[in-house]
C-alpha cells in the first residue's frame, strides 16, 4: 500500500504511484520534525527509564519490610494504558488549572505559568517526562527479576576474594544480568518507538505537530486523513529504521540470544 494512492474516502481511485508517497513524506516538514522527535523520544525515554529502573531494582533487591506492598505501588504504572496515562498527565500539565504549575508556583520555583503542553518548546520534553514515568516500572520489574536470579555463591566467592561493593556490582552483578539488560533495552526501544498511544492521549501531536513522533503521525494519517498510502509509507520507513537499529544494536552488544527472557 505504500506504493499506492490509497485513500479511505476514495476507494475507487486506488492506483499505483511508485515512490511518490515516500517523496511526499520527505518533503513534509511535519514528517521531518516527527523523525527528529522520534529520535529524542526514544533516546531520552530509554536512557532515563533504564537508569532509574536499574537503580530502583538494585535498591529493592535486598528484602526489606513492606517490600511486597512497595512493589505494588512502584510498579502499577505498567498495567495502565498509555492513552489513560496521556489523559491524566494532560490534566496535570494543564497551564491554567494543572497541578504542576500550581505546585511550582507555590514553592516559588517559577513565577509565571508554564505552558507544558501548549508551548512547542516545552511540549516534547513534557511528553518524554510522562513517558519515563510510564516505562520505569517495566525496566525495574525485568531487572529486579534478573537480579534475584543471580546465584548467591557468586557473591560469596567475591566476598572471599575481598571484593568491595562497587567491584561486586561491576564484576559480578552487571555481567550476570547483561543478557536481560540487552534484550530489555532492545525490545523496549522498539516499543517506545512504535507506540503512539501516550502521545495520542496527551497532545495528539499538537501544538502544531510539535509533539508528533513517527508512529503518532502515521496514526494521524489513518484516523484523520484516511490516507493509507501515506501512512504505509511512514510505516515502511519505520520498519527500515527498526531493522537498521536492531542490526546496529546486536552488532555493538554482540548478543547471541536476544529476546530470551
Amino acid at each position: 500500500m505504500a506504493f499506492q494512492d490509497y485513500k479511505l474516502f476514495d476507494l475507487r481511485h486506488i492506483k499505483f504511484v511508485g515512490f511518490s508517497n515516500f517523496k511526499d513524506a520527505f518533503q513534509d516538514p511535519k514528517f521531518l520534525l516527527a523523525l527528529k522527535n522520534s529520535g529524542y523520544w526514544v533516546f531520552f525515554s530509554l536512557i532515563s527509564q533504564f537508569l532509574i529502573g536499574l537503580t530502583l531494582a538494585l535498591f529493592m533487591k535486598k528484602q526489606f519490610k513492606g517490600r511486597g506492598i512497595y512493589q505494588g505501588f512502584a510498579f502499577y504504572s505498567w498495567a495502565l494504558s498509555g492513552f489513560l496515562i496521556g489523559m491524566i498527565w494532560k490534566w496535570m500539565f494543564n497551564s491554567q488549572i494543572g497541578v504542576f504549575n500550581d505546585l511550582l508556583l507555590r514553592t516559588g520555583i517559577i513565577h509565571d505559568r508554564i505552558g507544558f503542553l501548549s508551548n512547542p518548546s516545552w511540549a516534547m520534553a513534557s511528553a518524554i517526562i510522562a513517558n519515563v514515568w510510564y516505562g520505569v516500572a517495566f525496566f525495574a520489574i525485568m531487572l529486579l527479576a534478573a537480579l534475584q536470579s543471580v546465584p548467591a555463591d557468586l557473591y560469596e566467592a567475591a566476598d572471599m576474594d575481598g571484593a568491595s561493593g562497587t567491584r561486586k556490582l561491576l564484576n559480578v552483578t552487571l555481567p550476570y544480568i547483561m543478557p536481560t539488560i540487552i534484550s530489555t533495552t532492545l525490545l523496549r526501544a522498539i516499543w517506545i518507538f512504535n507506540d503512539p498511544t501516550l502521545i495520542y492521549g496527551l497532545t495528539n501531536g499538537g501544538p502544531a505537530g510539535s509533539t508528533h513522533i513517527l508512529s503518532s503521525l502515521m496514526l494521524d494519517k489513518i484516523i484523520y486523513a484516511g490516507d493509507y498510502g501515506a501512512a504505509s509509507a511512514i510505516g515502511v520507513i519505520m520498519i527500515v529504521l527498526l531493522l537498521l537499529y536492531t542490526i546496529f544494536f546486536l552488532g555493538i552488544t554482540k548478543a547471541e540470544k536476544v529476546g530470551d527472557f
Binding site: 522498539i190 498511544t197 529476546g259
Partner: protein, 274 residues
C-alpha cells in the same frame, strides 16, 4: 559509608514512591471533587466535600456499565484463548526441533518489531467481508492473534527452564506425553502461565485503536473506546473524565496487586539460566 548508602536508598525509594503515587492520587481526588472545586483557584489538594456526583454522571451520560462488561468479556476471553494456544505452541517450540523451527521463532520475533496498526486497514476490509465488524468476537479474534507470538516467546522461556527429564520420568511411569504435560509440567509452570495471562489481560483491557476501528455500535464499545469518545465529545468535563479513568484503572490495578508477586517470581524463574 554503609549508613550513607542506606539513607540514599531510603531517600530514593521514598521520592520514587511519591512520584509514582501522585498522579493516581490526583486523578482519584479530582474524581471525588464537586464540579466547582475542580476549577476553583487556588487548587484544593484535599476536597472540602467529597462527592460521588461525577461517578453518577458518567453512568447517566453513557452506558458505562455496558462498556465495562464488554471490556471484561473481550479481555478475559481473549486472554484465555491466548493461553491455551500459546502453552501448546510454546511447548512444541521448546521441546521439539523440526524443519522451519528457527524460521518460525524468527517470524515471532519480527512481529514484535512491527507497528501493529499498519495492518489495520487490510484487516478491516477482510473482517468486514466476513461481516465480523461491529461484533465483540472480532476483537477477541484480533487480540488473540496479536498476542500469540509474544506469549509463545514468553512461555517457551519458562518451558526451557524445566528439565525435560521431568516429563520423561512421567512417561516411563506410563503417562502419555499429553497427560505428562497436563499433570506434571503445567502445575510447575503456573507462575509463568499466570504472569503471561495477566500480561495478555492487561494488553486486551487497554487496547484502543483496533477497537476504535472495528466497533462503532455504541452498545459494543469497550472502555478505552468510550473514554476516547468522551474526550472528543466532552472536552472540558474533567470530573466525569477522571471518574471514568479511575473506573477503567481499577480492574488492572486490582489484578496487578494480587498478581505482582507472581509476575516477578515468574520472571525470576524464567531468567534463571537452567
Amino acid at each position: 559509608m554503609k549508613k550513607l548508602l542506606g539513607s540514599i536508598k531510603f531517600l530514593f525509594l521514598s521520592i520514587y514512591l511519591i512520584v509514582m503515587i501522585f498522579p493516581l492520587y490526583w486523578i482519584v481526588i479530582t474524581s471525588l471533587k464537586p464540579q466547582k472545586d475542580i476549577f476553583s483557584f487556588p487548587l484544593k489538594y484535599w476536597p472540602g466535600k467529597f462527592t460521588f456526583q461525577n461517578y453518577e454522571n458518567i453512568f447517566k451520560i453513557s452506558k458505562f456499565h455496558i462498556y465495562i462488561g464488554n471490556s471484561l468479556i473481550v479481555a478475559i476471553a481473549a486472554a484465555f484463548v491466548v493461553i491455551i494456544i500459546s502453552v501448546l505452541s510454546a511447548y512444541v517450540m521448546a521441546r521439539f526441533t523440526f524443519r522451519g523451527h528457527r524460521q518460525i521463532m524468527l517470524a515471532f520475533f519480527l512481529t514484535q518489531m512491527l507497528p501493529g496498526f499498519i495492518a489495520l486497514a487490510p484487516l478491516y476490509r477482510m473482517m468486514s467481508s466476513f461481516h465480523l465488524t461491529n461484533h465483540l468476537f472480532s476483537l477477541v479474534l484480533m487480540y488473540t492473534v496479536g498476542l500469540i507470538p509474544f506469549s509463545t516467546i514468553m512461555l517457551r522461556g519458562f518451558f526451557q527452564r524445566i528439565p525435560s527429564s521431568l516429563e520423561e520420568a512421567a512417561m516411563i511411569d506410563g503417562c502419555s506425553r499429553w497427560t505428562a504435560l497436563l499433570r506434571i509440567i503445567i502445575p510447575v509452570m503456573l507462575p509463568g502461565i499466570a504472569s503471561t495471562f495477566i500480561f495478555a489481560f492487561v494488553q486486551n483491557w487497554n487496547e484502543l485503536f483496533v477497537a476504535v476501528m472495528f466497533i462503532d455500535n455504541d452498545a459494543l464499545k469497550t472502555l478505552p473506546v468510550a473514554m476516547n469518545s468522551f474526550i472528543l465529545k466532552f472536552d472540558v468535563d474533567w470530573g466525569a473524565m477522571s471518574a471514568g479513568a479511575v473506573l477503567s484503572i481499577i480492574p488492572t490495578i486490582f489484578i496487578f496487586a494480587i498478581a505482582q508477586r507472581f509476575i516477578v517470581e515468574g520472571l525470576t524463574q524464567g531468567a534463571e539460566k537452567g
